[in-house]
Symmetry: C2
Subunit: 239 residues, 2 copies
Amino acid sequence: MSDGTKADDIALALEEAIVSGEIPPGSTLRQEHLSEQFQVSRTPVREALRRLAALGLVTFEPNRGVRVRLLSLDEIREAFMVRAELESLATEVATPKMTDDDLAELERAERRFSRATQALVEMSHEGRQDLEIARDWLHLNHSFHDVIYRAADVHLIERMAKAARRTFLVKPVWATGADLDELFLKNDLQHRAIRDAIAARSPQGARVLAREHVLSSGRLLEAILDKVSAQAREASGVR
Amino acid sequence: MSDGTKADDIALALEEAIVSGEIPPGSTLRQEHLSEQFQVSRTPVREALRRLAALGLVTFEPNRGVRVRLLSLDEIREAFMVRAELESLATEVATPKMTDDDLAELERAERRFSRATQALVEMSHEGRQDLEIARDWLHLNHSFHDVIYRAADVHLIERMAKAARRTFLVKPVWATGADLDELFLKNDLQHRAIRDAIAARSPQGARVLAREHVLSSGRLLEAILDKVSAQAREASGVR
DNA sequence: GAGGCATACTTAGGATCCAATTTGGGTACA
DNA sequence: TGTACCCAAATTGGATCCTAAGTATGCCTC
């Protein structure tokens, strides 16, 4: 019960659980079950669900319950298109506004992300699957862009772009492999290029690079999804 | 109680009332007042408010009530930037997908909007203030873009662009005058240009035109807001 | 034995009730 | 006279209860 109302807390917790894949897409949520899980009555639970419904994470089916939304590949592609437009816009707006402090922070964020990418690639070479490293990678990826948002001071754009971020699940992001390493490294290099363009005070350049970067991330995710489903097919074929 | 739950109905009604300016921005909403207004208990009212809060139309201040969000000029500008990006993206996506039927419908929408613009300009010349005509104009403006969205078949983009549409109020749109006529007519011509680009199967061209069109609409709204506030200043000065 | 209808059970929607927090006014004291 | 404190009224947040809608199960009929 960190802050404010319980409905908000529950909404946050459920959002996290849905986005992280802890609650599988397509499953139906029982209000009573949630209420005893969070040790509250059904009232705040329902208010939280209304919020999630407005965000598009769940759908209400009157008198039948709420269902966790499951996204098609098309919708995931759309989400990346939206992010590409909005993040590139934010980057363009941010470029002239970035102070030296902001640039220094951006560089720190970029370094941290670089290290996370290194760790991910090493992990891939060793054939390990460390969910914590993968989660860190994703989080630091977002952190980089968050620095830009903060400098751009565009609350509405930020809010909508982050809504687009939340539409797809991060759970299946944990396929790695030699074929993907190249894409991961490219992703890392793109951060550097974006920062260079900002440092060079080129709004248009930064914009184009940011756009390409997000679309490239989308292709990376698609490659990962392909690989995951291929592995799943193989596994079921063996069985 | 057209469909589904009362919470949904109330949310729709409140959304309309807020966007239309019927409920003034910055005012606080009393749950009990709303419940007797809609002839229901406070429970569905609160669920409706949660939905509006998730959409960003109102803000919850714990134990203090909900406040209708009031937007700064900066945020209105942001909303138009978002719309410019998303609508141009949708237009680009739609262009190769438009069937002849879609194009015919787009032309009809454009014609209707043209007539609404004519009516608006005539009204301006006669010095009248007809809220119905103005409302029609805005509605038909949206209709034109809705045809494009339908053809593009991009639900997420459409949802987010429409969320951006809803962030600003349409109430102050009712200043007219000779200085604004030019901008209204330009707006109308841009629709024609966009349709021509789509008909010529030029996704990039349509995209650029759509972007410029939305940004131009933003400048139009700013001009209107300027005029309205100037008139308000004059009125209070006279008094 | 299969299909349809009725009934019981499950679950969501909505109303009412209680608790907790805020705010405004009034009073007492410096 | 101004300020601080306290109490009461108003209002929201949350819990419980009731109703209605939907689903499943079982019985009856063909």
